[in-house]
C-alpha cells in the first residue's frame, strides 16, 4: 500500500495533517477544476446560508442537532470506519462537522454563545476537512438503519456536498461528466456522438441475432411508446451484454414494440444526486424532456442504482408538468416473471452466483426480492452474502466514488475492503451487480484482491436464461 496520496490535492496548499490515523491509509483526495483559493470560509458560509434560505434542510439540521445523542452505534455499521478505525470516519463525527457549523453560525443560541463565550471560528483547515470527509463517505445510508434516532447521515453527506459544490469544490470527474451530460449531442456523461450510438445499436442487434437466432430490435426514437428506456451511459461502452439482455427481455415478453431509446438523451445517470441539487434538478428535467419529446408514457431505467432511485424519487419532484411514472427494469422483469410472460431456464446458470444489493435501490427496501426471484428462477447455485438486502454493505464506489479514478487506492484499500471480504466468503464464481457504478468498483476490487470471480449484470444472465418459445 502506498503511504502517500495517489495524486496531489489541488487546493492552493496541501491539506493539513489532521491527526494520526491508526491505519496508514490512502486518502480520498480528488481533483477539482478551478478550486477556490481565498476566502473559502466566507464562501462556505454564504453558500450554507443560501441553501438554508431556499430549501427545506433547516428542519433536518434542527432535528438532528437536538436528536444526536452520540451513542456511536453508527460506527459499527460503517464499512469505511471498519476499514480504517479512524475517528473521523465515524458517521456521527462527520455529521457533527456540519451540525457544529450550523449551530454556531445559523442558530440564535449559537450566535449568542459565541458572543459571550467566544468559541471556535470556522477556518480554512476545516474546509479541507469537510471537503475530504464528505467524499470519504459513500452515502450508502447503512448507518441510518442503525441509528436509534433515525438520523439519515446520507442526507447530511448530500447536504455537505451540495454546499461545497456551490463554492466550487466538486470532484473533477463528477463535474466533467455532468457538463458532458448537459451539453453533448446525446446528453450522455460519456458525450457519445449520435452516430456512435446508432452504430453500436446495429452491432448489438447483429450480435443478438447471432446469439438467439431472433431479429431482436432496439427501437430508436420511436414516438408514442409505453416505455422510454434510459441506461447508464457506461452500458453503451462497456456492458453490451446488459443492453442485449434488456432488449431480449423486452422481446421475450412481447414488449418489442412498446419501448424505445431516445437519441437526444439516453443516459440514466444523474450525478446531481451525489453533489448538487441544481444539477439533480436539471438532469431530471432533461430526462423528462426526452420522454415528452417521444411522447412516452413511462420512464424505464436500466441497471443502475442511483439512476433508478433518482428517477423514482426525483422525477415526481423536478419533473414539473412533464413528470411521469418511473420504473426500474429489474422491477419490470420480476413483474413479467410473476405474470408468467417471462420464461427462464431454471438450470441456465450453473455457476455459483451471488447478488450484490446496490445501496440506492436496496437500502429503502425497494428492490430486494425482485432480482432474487429472477436469480432463483435461473441459477440453482445462488448464494447470499452476509449481510444482504437492506443491510448489505456498499461496494465502496457509492456516492460517485467509483467514477473518481484518482481515489482508486482509497476505494480499494478502504472503501471496498469489507465488500471484498464479503465477496471472498461467498466463494461465488459470478457476482451479479445491477448497477453501473457497483460493477466498475467490484471489477476493480476483484482484480485488486485477486478474487477468482466475474462481475456481471442481471440482464447478462437473463440473456442466457430466457427460454424462447
Amino acid at each position: 500500500m502506498r503511504e502517500q496520496p495517489v495524486v496531489d490535492w489541488i487546493f492552493h496548499e496541501p491539506p493539513p495533517v489532521i491527526a494520526k490515523t491508526p491505519v496508514k491509509a490512502p486518502r480520498a483526495h480528488y481533483h477539482i477544476i478551478d478550486p477556490p483559493k481565498e476566502g473559502r470560509v466566507a464562501m462556505f458560509l454564504r453558500a450554507f446560508a443560501a441553501v438554508l434560505k431556499y430549501s427545506s434542510y433547516k428542519g433536518m439540521l434542527d432535528a438532528y442537532s437536538r436528536l444526536s445523542t452520540g451513542c456511536a452505534r453508527c460506527s459499527a455499521a460503517c464499512h469505511i470506519y471498519r476499514a480504517t478505525g479512524d475517528d473521523k470516519d465515524i458517521p456521527c463525527y462527520r455529521t457533527y462537522l456540519l451540525l457544529d457549523i450550523y449551530r454556531r453560525y445559523f442558530t440564535l443560541e449559537g450566535q449568542v454563545k459565541s458572543l459571550v463565550l467566544g468559541g471556535r471560528e470556522l477556518c480554512e483547515a476545516d474546509i479541507d476537512l469537510l471537503a475530504e470527509s464528505f467524499y470519504r463517505c459513500n452515502a450508502c445510508r447503512r448507518c441510518s438503519l442503525e441509528c436509534p434516532m433515525g438520523i439519515d447521515q446520507g442526507l447530511m453527506t448530500h447536504l455537505g456536498r451540495y454546499i461545497l459544490s456551490e463554492m466550487g469544490i466538486v470532484p473533477k470527474a463528477l463535474r466533467l461528466s455532468t457538463i458532458r451530460e448537459m451539453e453533448s449531442q446525446t446528453h450522455t456523461t460519456t458525450a457519445m456522438p449520435a452516430p456512435a450510438l446508432e452504430d453500436f445499436i446495429v452491432f448489438l442487434e447483429k450480435e443478438l441475432l447471432r446469439l438467439t437466432g431472433r431479429p431482436i430490435r432496439f427501437p430508436v426514437d420511436e414516438p408514442g411508446r409505453e416505455f422510454i428506456f434510459f441506461a447508464p451511459a457506461s452500458d453503451f461502452i462497456m456492458e453490451a451484454e446488459t443492453l442485449m439482455g434488456h432488449a431480449a427481455l423486452m422481446h421475450a415478453v412481447g414488449y418489442q414494440d412498446r419501448w424505445t431509446i431516445g437519441t437526444h438523451d439516453c443516459d440514466a445517470m444523474n450525478f446531481g444526486l451525489y453533489y448538487n441539487d441544481w444539477v439533480l434538478d436539471h438532469v431530471v428535467c432533461q430526462l423528462c424532456g426526452e420522454a415528452d419529446r417521444l411522447r412516452a408514457q413511462k420512464i424505464m431505467i436500466g441497471e443502475c442504482g442511483h439512476a433508478a432511485r433518482t428517477a423514482k424519487e426525483f422525477v415526481p419532484v423536478f419533473g414539473r408538468d412533464l413528470k411521469r411514472p418511473a420504473i426500474s427494469s429489474i422491477e419490470f422483469a420480476a413483474q413479467m416473471l410473476q405474470a408468467g410472460k417471462l420464461k427462464l431456464d431454471p438450470r441456465a446458470i450453473q455457476q455459483r452466483v451471488t447478488y450484490h444489493d446496490p445501496c440506492n435501490i436496496a437500502r429503502s427496501g425497494w428492490i430486494i426480492e425482485q432480482p432474487r426471484q429472477l436469480l432463483r428462477a435461473m441459477a440453482p447455485n445462488f448464494v447470499e452474502m452476509t449481510p444482504h438486502g437492506r443491510w448489505n454493505y456498499c461496494c465502496g464506489g457509492g456516492g460517485g466514488a467509483a467514477s473518481i479514478d484518482e481515489i482508486h487506492d482509497y476505494r480499494m484499500e478502504i472503501a471496498g475492503k469489507v465488500k471484498a471480504e464479503q465477496l471472498k466468503a461467498t466463494g461465488a464464481d459470478l457476482v451479479v451487480a445491477p448497477c453501473a457504478e457497483c460493477k466498475k468498483q467490484l471489477r476493480e476490487l476483484v482484480k485488486h484482491y485477486s478474487l477468482n470471480m466475474e462481475v456481471v449484470g442481471l440482464n447478462d444472465l437473463l440473456l442466457k436464461a430466457i427460454r424462447w418459445e
Binding site: C71, R73, A76, R175
Partner: protein, 234 residues
C-alpha cells in the same frame, strides 16, 4: 430547612416542571412547523409513512434492534432508559404526590422493585460513563455535556435512594429530600435545552427524514441564482 423544602416542592417544582413541558412543546412545535413548511414546499407528497411508523415502533421497543450491533451498549442503554422512566413515574411516593395534586393516581411499583431499578440505573450510568470514556468510537464523538448529563441524571437517583434508606443517611432526611427535589428540578430545566429533549423529539427523526429528502422543486434554482446570479452553469 422546612421552608426551603416547601418552596422546592411547591412553586419551584411547578415552575421547573412547566418549563420542561412548555420547552418540549416548543421544540415539538418547531419541528412540526419545519415539517409543515417542507410539506408545503414539496412537490411530491407520497411519503413512506407506514414504513417509518413501523420503524419508529421497532425502535421504541428496540429489543429486536439491539443484538445486531454493539449488543452490550444496547442492553446497558435499554436498562438505563427503562429505569430512568419507570422509577420516577411508578415509585409509590411519587404516585402519592401526583394523587394529592391531580386527584388521581396510578398503580405503583413495590418498594423492592423500585429500589432494584434505582440501583440498576446507577450501575447503568456508571457503565455508560465507562463506555464513553473507554470505548474508542464513543469517546471520539463525546463532548462535555455527554458526560455531564449522565452525572446530573445520577443526582436525583442517588439522593432519592439515600432519602429512602435512613441507614445510609449522610445528611438529615430533610436535607436529603431537598437535594433530591432540587436535583430533579435541575434535570427538568436541562431537558428542553439539551440532548435530553430527544425524550419528546424522538419520533421526529424517523418521521421527518423523508420530508427533507423531498426537495422543494424551485429550491435549487433559487439557491443557484442567489449565489451565482442569472448565469448558472453546471
Amino acid at each position: 430547612m422546612e421552608q426551603w423544602l416547601t418552596f422546592a416542592r411547591g412553586p419551584l417544582f411547578i415552575a421547573t416542571f412547566s418549563l420542561m413541558v412548555l420547552g418540549l412543546l416548543r421544540l415539538a412545535f418547531m419541528q412540526l412547523w419545519e415539517m409543515v413548511k417542507a410539506w408545503l414546499r414539496m412537490e411530491d407528497h407520497r411519503l413512506p409513512w407506514w414504513k417509518n411508523i413501523k420503524e419508529l415502533l421497532a425502535w421504541s421497543f428496540p429489543i429486536t434492534q439491539i443484538p445486531r450491533v454493539k449488543p452490550v451498549i444496547g442492553v446497558v442503554s435499554l436498562f438505563f432508559h427503562a429505569a430512568l422512566l419507570a422509577t420516577p413515574l411508578l415509585l409509590a411516593e411519587h404516585v402519592m404526590l401526583w394523587r394529592r395534586t391531580l386527584g388521581f393516581g396510578w398503580p405503583s411499583l413495590p418498594r423492592v422493585l423500585a429500589d432494584g431499578l434505582t440501583l440498576i440505573f446507577m450501575v447503568a450510568v456508571l457503565l455508560l460513563l465507562g463506555i464513553r470514556t473507554f470505548h474508542r468510537p464513543s469517546r471520539a464523538i463525546s463532548r462535555f455535556w455527554d458526560y455531564a448529563l449522565l452525572l446530573v441524571l445520577l443526582l436525583p437517583f442517588v439522593s432519592g435512594y439515600l432519602a429512602m434508606h435512613p441507614e445510609f443517611l449522610i445528611f438529615r432526611i430533610k436535607t436529603m429530600l431537598l437535594l433530591h427535589v432540587l436535583s430533579a428540578e435541575l434535570v427538568f430545566v436541562l431537558i428542553p435545552f439539551s440532548k435530553l429533549s430527544h425524550a419528546a423529539l424522538f419520533p421526529f427523526g424517523r418521521l421527518s427524514s423523508d420530508f427533507y429528502w423531498r426537495l422543494p422543486a424551485d429550491g435549487p434554482d433559487r439557491v443557484a441564482r442567489a449565489l451565482h446570479g442569472e448565469e448558472v452553469k453546471a
